[in-house]
Assembly symmetry: C2
């Protein structure tokens, strides 16, 4: 990477050029945008060698820096992974067009013709971490929806991300759309993210995709509106009326099917009326799967067979998103305490009740304040694909604009178009 | 007002109590919320004397402090204005319920039943300035939509706002809903607004209603998501194909019908091809109405009869929202320059083209990036009532969540409710 002295100026110039490019892109037809995304896919395939070469440099540098195996795996590109990126772009091309929908249409009293029409947001910033394939996902969804994008990959993936973005931007230009509509910040200086976050009015939305540290930095510092994603301290609550087999199967799935994801279960709540009947076998199954149990005193009493997998929970455990083979276990007096606990410690992501009592299920569904609330199912279903939304961008834990899994439509806004014949306001 | 030492603690306690109150309010039925809003209207009428007495104290203090006549008028309450507030609440009661709508419903592959349902946001903060009647508007729209509110009126209106809020909260409590769901900050200490803006996770949205200074402070400092409202540097662009009579009538309406409002015209753009034909009579009409013209060199040449109402425009004029009998006038080379100028200096509020050429109108409607774009009509129509949206909360100049005039629906979000029979993710 070349050294850049004036980081803020560099980022602002890049963003302003991308914003200018967003205008012709916003007026491109659906067919033009579809063709562009397909051309981007083809270019990834034809330029795979150059991308793999850049990735090999990132891998060497990361190995030399002693980066851990999990991160190295996320960083690695292979011919198969590049094919996956290309196929993902082709799927985006096939999505229904979210732009230009007439959301409302009416003639108002004085004869004015009023249409509310969906339009692209303009310039979308995506800030992400080690996975270079996010570059293609992010650029593809933006171009498909008529938005320009400015991308900021993680420093260990810089060469890979820049190589991918250049291939995509060149393909766009060959389709007659502006090269600058896929822009990437080509420095790993941390100040660049700060500069990006200050560009309110130029950047229309900033979407961080990554760990809690990145997301919280954006939420706290950004003047550009942020869509907050990803943190999930998800609970599964076993009500006194629960079918124990069902409950155990759901908890095991929600906790262990995949542990590093935001919709995994991090906390188990159990009604005290059934704690001694339900917990021993549940905790044994968790322990047998290699899960460490962070439990309260009642859980400890039920964990006598698996004390080697048990630690006493502290207040801090109730608020933790482990993203690992750990679970907190808390016994509650009943539905009221369960709902209060979830609303206090949850992150508004995904929450589940296991109960045969329909009234208890309906109260939990209604009173828990989260994007996705389940009765008798695993929280692992919270996903744009599972919900039938198409290509998921992320899972929003905020309430404004987009909540829960969100897709292409969240990259649009609307405008009112009003056609008159000389009307003035009386 | 009593003195409060720990402002941040005071505001946080108030907000947490209001948030707790938001839960029962969120589960109240439509009929219960309607009855509550009607009871609030009745209480304003029956307690009018107490409110007028508090307002008289505010008026006396403001007069002694030398507050200007315009501000005093906004501060003043009369029996008629209280009746207006009560009638406004009754209209809110009659609005269709925006809560509990099933926005989507589907059964997903594994048999899960998925519903996307509209729900209240939770706790809404409104920060406003001198007009005490905003207290009733804001509380009414929040209760109608199942939200609790925390209000922060301007310091000169403190006694009036607190008196109104107490009457409303008492009426709510008499309906069996929590008193704390209408909470008001009872100190004029400026630090209270800062404390409110820091309560991310407790306050769900902050809506500032007032001047540009207040709004920009919220946008820059708030960690709570803000709906940015109100600033309107609105343009009217007279294309070469314009009908001059229509153009003059629209410009006079947009500029002079009411000058202190955000949808008033602040800038006139004219194609150079028609500048010498169009401008002299236009500028004379503006001058005759008492408007000061901030014009460029071409405008000056057309203003020879009205030079006493003319000043040379500086670059700064193109970005100004005068909110007064002032207008900037700029001659452009044609449609491209007009669109670029509007997109550069506009605030994304309301923009108009006057043209008989339909293609020019359609390009302007499509390419101008603003909430409300007009062909051949006055920008003064940008209003929730005119657009048929019901009770307007404000006019958003941002793109996320709500754009343009927004009403009750903007105080809702949605959740996914998923009903299963033991499903786990494969």
């Amino acid at each position: 990477m070349e050294r850049i002295d004036d980081i803020a100026g560099y980022v602002e110039d890049l963003a302003r050029a991308a914003k200018a490019a967003s205008r012709p892109l916003g007026f491109a037809t659906n067919a033009e945008r579809q063709a562009a995304v397909r051309a981007m896919a083809a270019a990834l395939r034809s330029q795979a060698d150059a991308i793999l070469a850049a990735n090999a440099e990132d891998m060497t540098a990361a190995e030399e820096a002693g980066v851990n195996a999990g991160l190295l795996d996320r960083l690695l590109l292979t011919p198969e992974r590049i094919e996956g990126m290309a196929a993902g772009l082709e799927q985006l091309a096939d999505l229904p067009d979210p732009v230009g929908r007439v959301l409302e249409h009416r003639t108002i009293d004085c004869g004015l013709d009023l249409s509310k029409v969906s339009v692209p947001l303009g310039l979308v910033a995506m800030v992400y971490e080690a996975r270079p394939n996010v570059t293609a996902d992010a650029a593809g969804i933006c171009i498909r929806t008529g938005n320009a994008c400015i991308l900021r990959g993680g420093s260990i993936a810089q060469r890979s991300c820049v190589a991918i973005a250049r291939v995509l931007a060149d393909a766009l230009a060959e389709c007659g759309l502006p090269h600058e509509a896929v822009s990437i910040i080509e420095t790993s200086d941390r100040a660049a993210t700060g500069a990006l976050m200050s560009l309110r009015g130029v950047v229309d939305v900033l979407i961080p995709r990554g760990g809690a540290g990145l997301i919280q930095r954006c939420v706290r510092e950004s003047l550009v509106p942020v869509i907050e994603t990803g943190t999930g301290n998800c609970h599964t609550y076993v009500h006194a009326s629960a079918d124990f087999d069902k409950a155990r199967r759901i908890v095991m799935n929600a906790k262990t099917q995949r542990v590093g994801v935001c919709n995994a279960c991090e906390s188990l709540l159990v009604d005290e009326a059934v704690a001694t009947a339900f917990l021993p076998q549940m905790l044994s199954e968790l322990a047998a799967a290699g899960v460490t149990i962070h439990g309260d005193a009642v859980a400890r009493a039920a964990a006598t067979d698996v004390l080697d997998h048990f630690v006493d929970a502290t207040e801090e455990d109730w608020g933790r998103e482990y993203l690992s083979m750990d679970i907190s276990v808390h016994v509650v007096s009943g539905l009221d305490e369960a709902i209060a606990h979830v609303n206090r410690y949850g992150t508004g992501h995904s929450e589940a009740i296991i109960a045969e009592d329909a009234e208890a299920c309906e109260r939990f569904l209604r009173e828990v304040d989260a994007s996705s609330v389940y009765a008798n199912a695993s929280t692992r279903f919270t996903d744009g694909g599972e919900f039938g939304l198409g290509a998921e961008i992320g899972i929003s834990t905020q309430k404004l604009h987009a909540r829960g899994p969100f897709a292409a439509e969240a990259l649009t806004t609307y405008k009112y178009e009003i056609r008159g014949t000389g009307q003035v306001r009386p």
